[in-house]
């Protein structure tokens, strides 16, 4: 078995298993928690509009903090969008998802992917730089932050190298790329990357609570 | 019957070269020929350039053909397929194209020499031929 066979075979199988295991464990463990009894009178009959409203409003900087947060926020948005374009727009990735789910969709031209990939890497590096230079952020960061950053940027970098056939033979680059994704999948449910699922749950819960209590959102 | 002929097929050659289609290699070859000719005149040393060893665009080829053009000698050698030997406009520079039986090019060379080796009758073949001719005559007697 060569490296690529290992990556496409057992490595991916284990990564998938750990990923779905961890995801369902953590989501269920949180969703099944007891809600606090709310003794106050509900101000609105339904609370889900508040949930949606908060998910949207909190995705936008508040006016008061805007000058201070706009830079970090935009860089954050840039690499999140970049990731989405690269992950779901690149033809070989669509082949990957199709083999898993049977779903198919048209791919974006490779030129768009390359540019998005490059921008994503740049944005991710800026984000790390900020984390390292800003004393407050530095104090707040722990291993989880740095490792989550690492497992996010490696697939992008190894993927770009693989398309460019740069640095090693293609089969090695592809294998390393797939292994880096396996690592991402394994880490995903247990580290801060879980925010991608939890962010909507937590914001939604808060929004629903606000709506019920009649707090302004 | 098979319906194969109804399937539309577009043949695309995606290796269309850049605007003028010249890679610069044809030019390099011409300059090398000058150097090789100088060496030949000085020391009598023959030499050759393998055209397959360089990436040449179709336009490069045209350029070489047009520049070197046709000289006085043009020979075909019939040995396991054709071999075309053409003198160019510049005496001493020969263009040799080797074809296999199916007519594909197996080697394409520019040689700098008075007479290409492959045109000359090899001594052993001359000897063998002599034996055969003698045999024939004895048989006829």
């Amino acid at each position: 078995m060569d490296l690529l066979q290992f990556a496409r075979g057992p490595a991916l199988t284990w990564a998938f298993a750990i990923f779905v295991f961890g995801m369902s464990w953590r989501l269920l463990g949180i969703l099944l928690l007891k809600r606090r009894p709310d003794y106050s009178e509900p101000r609105h009959a339904t609370s889900w509009p508040g949930a949606i409203k908060l998910i949207i409003t909190r995705s936008w900087p508040r006016r008061e903090f805007r000058p201070r947060t706009v830079f970090g926020l935009s860089v954050g948005y840039i690499f999140h969008f970049g990731l989405v374009i690269v992950v779901f727009g690149f033809a070989p990735h669509i082949m990957f998802f199709r083999s898993l789910t049977g779903l198919d969709w048209p791919n974006l031209p490779n030129a768009v992917i390359y540019i998005s990939g490059a921008i994503t890497i740049a944005a991710l590096i800026i984000v790390l730089g900020r984390r390292l230079t800003n004393p407050v952020m530095r104090l707040l960061s722990n291993f989880d932050d740095y490792f989550s950053w690492f497992v996010t940027i490696t697939p992008v970098v190894t993927g770009m190298l693989a398309v460019a056939h740069l640095g090693a033979r293609y089969e090695t680059l592809l294998a390393v790329h797939i292994l880096s994704i396996a690592l991402l999948l394994v880490w995903f449910p247990f580290g801060k990357l879980m925010h991608s699922a939890l962010i909507f749950i937590s914001r939604g819960t808060t929004g629903a609570l606000f709506e019920r209590k009649g707090a302004s959102i | 019957m098979s319906g194969l002929e109804n399937i539309g097929v577009k043949i695309i050659n995606p290796l269309t070269p850049q605007t003028d289609g010249v890679s610069g290699n044809a030019d390099a070859i011409l300059h090398e020929l000058v150097a090789l000719l100088e060496t030949y005149i000085d020391s009598g040393e023959n030499s050759a350039i393998d055209l397959h060893s360089l990436p040449l665009t179709p336009t490069d080829y045209e350029l070489l053909r047009a520049t070197l053009a046709e000289g006085e000698v043009h020979a075909n050698i019939n040995a396991v397929g054709n071999t075309e030997v053409r003198e160019t406009l510049y005496p001493g520079v020969w263009w040799l194209t080797y074809y296999n039986v199916e007519g594909d090019i197996v080697a394409d060379l520019l040689e700098v020499i008075d007479v290409p080796e492959i045109l000359k009758a090899p001594a052993e073949d001359i000897r063998d031929g002599l034996v055969r001719l003698r045999d024939l005559l004895t048989q006829m007697e």
Binding site: F16, L174 | V9, I11, V80, E102
Partner: protein, 354 residues
């Protein structure tokens, strides 16, 4: 039985002109990217020297490799390699059979011990004492070990002798292995391919016969001149790959436009071979030019790397059952965790209540 058997004598015997031979040398030199002057040197030296003795052993194989070299259109330049060598043993091609055939091998071994070239096609079964393939009652394993001892060098022709090939494919019932798994103390050159391109076989043999040594090899013992690039590196459909234009079926618009076959399972990007440049059937075309992806036939374990039609970046295993099981496991653990937490929450609640 061999008087000084020079190539010149053999040419005269078979009525091949020296010009034809010089042409062969020129074609081989060009193919091997040797300087053009090498052709004359080759032709000159070979005429005089004794023909290289070659013993060709066929083990667990389909004879496709021999066919590739001998059954190409007739007469071809590739076949002229047989004029350059003295093929002293090849049980498919030789006239002798039975005891006479085996004694031909022993004689050839004795006559040029330490100097003959050993060519092997087919893998070697090792399970159950190697009984799964024998020649004249001798197991392939024993014959290889014995014949390799007196060889100057060994050339493994084809994927089977180079890497184990199809006999080696899972579950490998005969315990098939490659030559290099058995022979460690001799120079071995692998010329993989199922089968290898005839001019590649002829080219590397011509090189050995001329220079008396193997050409430069890579980390898998392959001659670098032919195996340095992947099919993908030299593929004429590469511009479409770079643009992300892929045929999705064998008869869609993309296929008709000659787009890249990556999505249809082309293994070109991970396959090192010369098909895209030298091509097949005397340079007519190669599989991708005919609209089918590369199978990766010249790579180790090519038979066990998933379907030929499965795109390269997709998982090899069927992961659905594993994913389902892992989800169920996660749900179970998550539920238990939630129950424990709820109990904890309740405890805190009652404490707060008090």
């Amino acid at each position: 039985m061999n008087e000084p058997d020079t190539l010149g004598a053999s040419l005269t015997r078979t009525g091949i002109s020296r010009r034809s031979f010089l042409k062969f040398c020129t074609a081989m030199a060009s193919l091997m990217a040797l300087p053009p002057s090498a052709a004359y040197a080759m032709a000159d030296a070979l005429q005089r020297t004794q023909r290289q003795s070659v013993i060709w052993l066929s083990f667990q194989e389909c004879t496709g490799c021999v066919e590739s070299l001998t059954r190409s259109f007739d007469p071809t330049l590739e076949q002229m390699i047989f004029e350059m060598i003295s093929l002293d043993y090849q049980h498919t091609l030789q006239a002798a059979s039975g005891t006479a055939a085996e004694s031909a091998r022993e004689q050839a071994m004795k006559a040029s011990y330490g100097k003959y070239l050993l060519i092997v096609d087919g893998s070697i079964p090792t399970k159950d004492g190697g009984v799964y393939s024998t020649v004249a009652g001798i197991s392939n394993y024993d014959m290889l070990v014995e014949t390799a001892k007196g060889a100057a060098a060994i050339v493994s022709v084809g994927t089977c002798s180079s890497y184990g090939g199809i006999p080696h494919a899972n579950p490998n019932p005969t315990g098939a292995v490659a030559v290099t798994d058995i022979i460690k103390d001799k120079p071995v050159m692998n010329v993989p391919g199922c089968p290898p391109i005839p001019s590649v076989i002829a080219g590397v043999l011509a090189y050995f016969v001329t220079y008396g040594k193997l050409p430069e090899l890579d980390h898998l013992n392959r001659p670098k001149v032919f195996f340095a690039d992947t099919i993908h590196d030299r593929c004429y459909r590469r511009p479409f790959y770079d643009q992300g234009k892929f045929a999705k079926t064998f008869d869609d618009e993309g296929a008709r436009n000659g787009w890249c076959l990556y999505e249809l399972g082309c293994k070109g990007p991970t396959t090192y071979n010369a098909c895209a440049t030298i091509k097949w059937n005397g340079g007519v075309s190669f599989p991708i030019e005919s609209g089918h992806g590369c199978l990766g036939c010249s790579e180790p374990n090519f038979w066990d790397k998933g379907s030929f039609y499965q795109p390269l970046p997709t998982p090899l295993a069927d992961n659905a059952p594993v994913i389902a099981a892992a989800t169920l496991g996660g749900i179970a653990v998550g539920t238990v965790a939630a129950v424990v937490s709820r109990k904890h929450q309740a405890d805190i609640g009652t404490k707060e209540g008090k």
